[in-house]
């Protein structure tokens, strides 16, 4: 657990520093995540070393964003116009993302040898 936590916090520190120095508007934690994935790929860090600490955090991920969620109490007096914007941003977009990803992935899968899908023949026009 301790070696894993040490590695996670080191990558977080490096990610935050990189985000600040490079002046790029990307959260340091995301850069840390990508650096960790790269280090695992290159064999600089072993998966088993970070496993326990990563599991402890990821198994309880939902709990970690409760305090941020409680901050919603600060926005109850948001004007009605803004709530319409929220609705307009969330509802159509959710379905458009699903359609884009679902269709594109299915189209890319087909020519590539044995498809992972078990498509019943002749069900599509």
């Amino acid at each position: 657990m301790i070696p894993g936590l040490a590695i996670l916090f080191c990558f977080l520190a490096v990610g935050e520093q990189a985000s600040r120095l490079a002046g790029i508007p990307v959260p340091g934690s995301v850069l840390g995540m990508l650096l960790l994935a790269a280090a695992l790929r290159l064999g600089l860090v072993r998966g088993e070393t970070v496993q326990a600490a990563a599991d402890a955090l990821l198994d309880n991920l939902s709990l970690l964003f409760v305090p941020a969620g409680v901050g919603l109490m600060l926005y109850f007096d948001l004007p009605a116009r803004d709530w319409w914007s929220v609705l307009a941003a969330v509802v159509p977009s959710t379905f458009l993302v699903m359609a884009a990803v679902g269709w594109l992935q299915q189209a890319l899968e087909r020519p590539a040898g044995p498809a992972t899908s078990s498509q019943p023949p002749g069900t599509e026009g």
Partner: protein, 233 residues
């Protein structure tokens, strides 16, 4: 009323514990543990007239672990990519498309309705996993708590209506199904995709990680692209 940091942490843990127990018993989507514990805590704080800032003196101790948790997402991300090997290229392409569509189709309609720059920044990361979305919202000048709420609402919407929608539009490949669920509605969609089978669940988890990373990298540019299209650079 005084609320010590220790008491804030205790109340948050108890609220989450009870909410999760209730959700596990009922499996009713509106009783999502985050939704329920947030609602209970807000109700309690308002009744006791405790300001959010006072609660956060304790709450930030829990919030602090979000950032290392995002770093920890690097482990499942690496494992999924390793496992999929060459199959990860089309997956990368379709998830990237989903990331672009997700930000543009969120920011554009909201902008047309006259949303402020801060609100646009709040809404841009709505399809990505909460911890990353909070970071992106912060960096772009949005309102992170509102982002958290919008992200959770997006997740619930996608998890509930996504499967019938995907079937209706003819998405049958389990990989495509899972990727679509994960890219549109992150962790909550992934939990739902797992019910469709292991392949769909794994694909959904991968889309969650990839979309989070891609959107974090691309959101600043996509938001300014949308704003210049709206004539409000």
């Amino acid at each position: 009323m005084p609320l010590s940091p220790v008491l804030s942490v205790a109340l948050t843990l108890v609220a989450f514990w009870l909410s999760r127990a209730l959700y596990r018993r009922t499996r009713f989507f509106l009783l999502h543990p985050v939704l329920l514990s947030v609602a209970a805590l807000i109700a309690g704080l308002r009744l006791a007239r405790v300001p959010y800032q006072t609660y956060m003196q304790g709450g930030q101790l829990i919030d602090f672990f979000l950032a290392p948790a995002v770093v920890a997402l690097g482990l499942p991300l690496y494992r999924q990519l390793e496992r999929l090997g060459r199959a990860s290229l089309p997956i990368l392409a379709s998830t990237a498309a989903g990331s672009v569509v997700g930000v543009l189709t969120a920011v554009f309609p909201a902008g047309l309705l006259g949303a402020s720059p801060a609100l646009l920044a709040t809404l841009a990361p709505k399809s990505i996993t909460t911890p990353i979305a909070i970071g992106v919202s912060e960096v772009l000048g949005g309102l992170p708590p509102l982002t958290a709420a919008v992200v959770i609402a997006t997740g619930i919407l996608g998890a509930v209506l996504g499967p019938p929608f995907l079937r209706a539009i003819g998405v049958r490949s389990p990989t495509a199904f899972g990727l679509a669920m994960g890219a549109a509605s992150h962790g909550i969609g992934t939990a739902r995709a797992m019910e469709e089978g292991q392949l769909a669940g794994a694909a959904s988890g991968l889309a969650l990680g990839l979309n989070g990373a891609l959107t974090a990298l691309a959101a600043p540019w996509l938001v300014s692209l949308a704003r210049s299209l709206l004539g409000r650079p």
